[in-house]
Structures are given as structure tokens and as C-alpha cells.
Symmetry: C2
Subunit: 291 residues, 2 copies
């Protein structure tokens, strides 16, 4: 998915939010915004948003001197998610369709995001989303794909959300590689976050080889790309991974909360809604639409 | 009120929204954003937002060739507001305190705004706001000021809101000068909009002499400044006028819906709330706070 005009102010909003974790000096904030704007001016928008997002994040961390400004917030999110875990796990186990319920849990975990959204109340938001059926719901295709799948590649998103991913991975009952970012980027999960969430007992934690907030294949490591090509089924969490991989030909299932109008237009699911999108069916529909 | 870091992305959002009334070409939108960003880069933020806002609007209209892109929307808003008028007027007349109710009507009219907000449902929003008491509520000071006042200067804001201003002007029972912008700017009311709203029978319509979306005194005409200095009481509608006049020494009463975090911080009223602010009391409080 290419970047849109609306990404421009959104990048600047994210700049302010991230920079304010280190400084509230209006002149420093203005200077930083000028620098980010000047970066954006010299970049055409025919790239996926996570590419621009990573570059901007590196400008911010260089200027503020804070290499991982969300570190404390990420830890707090994981602790909070771990407190919610037993209750959510119990609800999933008691469900007539535990796989479906586990997907809902993983989707609900995607509310945890400091990138786009202003603020969220984790307990309330998760409870609210657990019963909300995705607006795009390719669950049957997912069941079919899963029945045939051996090894699964699971693309993680935010720290804290990782705890809810555990619930889905437990329900998959397959060997799973869980991919995290290789460098701090907003509140995205690193290997240490996956481990703190209890994922290492359930999956092999692998690094993407890059620090884009979404799997941008040309920026990943050769090892990661091998895994990506070999996986029977790929589960991709969150908007960033969707933005980066929406044109990929692999058997991906995107699980995401739609957080902005640009992704809403691209997916066809309204802002605020949940979606379980089979790449295979998505491509089929868009090809049919083009005819 | 000086511009804040958060105004930067907000200006770009407004640029997109205004430009999209004329074009959806991604390359033209990107080029326009680059130009606006480049303007912002060379301007310190120690000016009130409406100054930057007007300059940006002139860049947009020059580039898109649409001198008054909101014209049709403004007309539609006035027509819609005129349909709501009889019902709101009846509610005000039936109120135990018609002046208070008329202020509520004028405040409710301030939901009409294409500048900051994404979208609104006029009938529903107005109905919702009619009963909502302002979070900052200097009504008593307003009553005292009004009792002593001869000529009143009323600073209009958006087209459509003008119809709700009529209700307050009818309740004031004083000679009123109703100020409008002299050039198109977003959906702000021009003289033609005030007339189409039925204001010319109740007030003398005067132009500010400028096209800033908020009364920036150095940009107004000498005639307007004379009125501004001579008025016994000034009623100022909306955020733009508040932003521009928050440091003025005149007896102003600001009636506004707080539409962004920057104004929320400055007024102390949360985003989304209504406020009736006496400049005299505001200055007293901030002086006391500084001690």
C-alpha cells in the first residue's frame, strides 16, 4: 500500500508524540518538525508508509538522543496485558469455537498502539473487542489454510499485543516462528518484549533483520526472507505489516484493527473496525474489481 | 495564543481537506503539502494560528485555482441552519432564562466548522449541545456586562453558525455590529453569508478588513479597529477569534466549542467542551496564577 497525502500530517503527529516523551520545549519541537517536513519534501510517496516511518523515527531519536523512547511504555503494556491474560484465556477456552475466540483475542490485542491512536484504555478496549466480529471476515479460508499448514510464520506487531498473540499461538497447535523487529521502532515488539510476554516457550522468536514498523521485505535479513518464502501460512498482525505486505503473493492472513482512513480506503473496512483478511481472497476480489 | 507544535500537522490536515474539494490527484496533493511544509519551515511559531492559517489558505487557493472552495458547503450549511432555526428559537423562547438559552444556541452553532473537525451532523450536534452547560461559564459576568453595555460588537465565525447568532442577537436587545471576514477563508462567514442568514435586519454587518480566520487586529481595517476600540462589549465566536484575541485588553466574551488540544491547554477547558469566557475574569485568574 502506497503512502497517501493523509500520511504526511500523520507522520508529523507521530513525531510530536514521540518527541514529547523526551522534550516539551516548543522551539526544539518546531525544529524537529521542520527537519521531518524537509525529509518528507524530498521523498516521493510511492513507497509503503513504514519505510518513511522508520526514517522519521531515526531522525527523532537522533535529535532527542533517546534511542528507545517507548521502552518504559512497552514494559508497562506487557505487564498490563499479562494481568489480563488469565481472564481472556479462560473466555477463549470456554468458547464453543476456541480458534475463532483466540483470533478475536489476538485482534483485540491490536488496540495496543502508540503509533496512530492518541490513547487507549487496554482493559476496556480489549473487553469491547473480544465479541466484535471482524467487518472483513475470511475465517473459513483461514481454517482451510490452517488445516493444511505445517510451519507457521507469525509477524508480531506491538509490545503487549504479544501477550494476546500467545493465546492465538496456543490455539494453532503448530510449530510457529514469531517475528519481531530488530531495532526499536515506536512501541513495536523486540525479542526482549516477546520473551517478557512468555512467547519463547511457545514459539521460536526470530528477528526480521530490520527496524521498519511493518515487514518491508527488501530491508529484512536473508534468513528472515528464507522463512518468509518457506512458511505454509503467515499470520500478519497490525496495520504496519499490512501496509508493507499488502501486495505480497504469499499465503498471508492479516489480523488488524483499522486505525486510519488510508488503510480504511485500501481494505474497504471502516476506521475503527477489525479485519481478518486472507491475501488470496483479497487479491481475487481486487482482480475481479479491475475487470 | 501562540501556535504550538500540534498546529503543524493540523495545518497540513486542513490543507488536504481543502485541496480535496478541488483535486484528488495524489501527486498534486503531495506537491501542495510540500509547499505548505516549506512555508511553515520558514516561519517561527511565535504568531497566532490564524496568521499562518490565512497564508496557507492563500497557497492552496493559488495552487488549486479555487478562490472560495467552501462556497457551496457554506450555502448548504446556511440552508440547513435556517431549517433548524424555528425549532431552536421556540426552545429559547420557552426557556425560563431566554438569554442563557440564546447563548446556548449560539454556542451550539459553533459545531459548524470545516476547519478542524472531520465531519459533523448539524441537527444531532446542535440538539446535543443545546442543553450542555459550558465547562467555563462566566454567565454572571456576561449579564453584568450586558446590563451596562450600549453598542455591542459581535465577531462572527462560520457560515451557518450565523443563523444561530441571530438568536443570541435577538435576545441581546441592543444595537449590534456583526463582523464578518473580508475575503473567503475556509467556511468563515462573509457579508453575503450574514445577509443570507437573515442578520441584516437585526444588526449592521461590518467587514473586518482582512481574511484571517480570526480577528488579527494588525491585519484589520482602520474602520474596524475604531469599532473594536469603541465597543462597550464584544462577543467573540469560535476558536479562531479566541486564538487571535486571547491577549486583548478589551471587554470580550468568548463563546466557543474547544476543538483541539492546543486551545484546550490554553483555556483549561477539555477538547469537545463548550466555554463562555469573560476576558476580564480570564486575565484576573492567569495573573493570580502567576503570583
Amino acid at each position: 500500500m502506497q503512502s497517501a497525502a493523509e500520511c504526511y500530517p500523520c507522520f508529523l503527529n507521530q513525531t510530536i508524540k514521540t518527541a514529547r516523551l523526551s522534550t516539551n520545549d516548543p522551539r526544539r519541537l518546531k525544529a524537529l518538525l521542520d527537519e521531518v517536513a524537509s525529509y518528507l519534501q524530498f521523498h516521493p510517496f510511492n513507497v509503503v508508509p513504514p519505510v518513511l516511518s522508520e526514517d522519521i523515527y531515526r531522525i527523532i531519536t537522533r535529535e532527542t538522543g533517546a534511542a528507545d523512547p517507548y521502552r518504559e511504555l512497552k514494559r508497562r503494556c506487557i505487564r498490563q496485558a499479562l494481568r489480563l491474560y488469565p481472564e481472556v484465556k479462560k473466555r477463549v477456552a470456554a468458547s464453543p469455537d476456541p480458534l475463532r475466540a483466540a483470533i478475536q483475542a489476538a485482534l483485540a490485542g491490536n488496540v495496543i498502539d502508540f503509533g496512530v491512536k492518541e490513547e487507549f484504555d487496554m482493559a476496556a478496549d480489549v473487553a469491547d473487542l473480544l465479541d466484535r466480529i471482524p467487518v472483513i471476515d475470511h475465517y473459513r479460508d483461514f481454517q482451510t489454510g490452517l488445516a493444511r499448514a505445517g510451519r507457521i510464520l507469525y509477524l508480531g506487531d506491538n509490545a503487549g499485543e504479544t501477550v494476546f498473540d500467545r493465546i492465538l499461538i496456543e490455539a494453532l497447535d503448530r510449530p510457529v516462528d514469531y517475528a519481531v523487529r530488530s531495532a526499536p521502532i515506536i512501541n513495536d515488539a523486540l525479542a526482549e518484549d516477546a520473551r517478557a510476554s512468555g512467547l519463547s516457550a511457545l514459539a521460536r522468536i526470530v528477528e526480521s533483520g530490520c527496524g521498519t514498523p511493518g515487514i518491508v521485505l527488501p530491508r529484512t535479513s536473508p534468513e528472515f526472507r528464507r522463512l518468509f518464502r518457506a512458511a505454509d501460512l503467515i499470520i500478519s498482525k497490525g496495520q504496519g505489516n499490512y501496509e508493507a505486505l499488502s501486495e505480497s503473493g504469499r499465503p498471508i492472513f492479516f489480523l488488524l484493527k483499522v486505525k486510519c482512513e488510508v488503510v480504511a480506503r485500501h481494505t474497504g473496512a471502516p476506521k475503527g473496525s477489525l479485519a481478518l483478511i486472507s491475501q488470496r481472497l483479497r487479491k481475487k476480489t481486487s482482480r475481479a474489481r479491475e475487470k
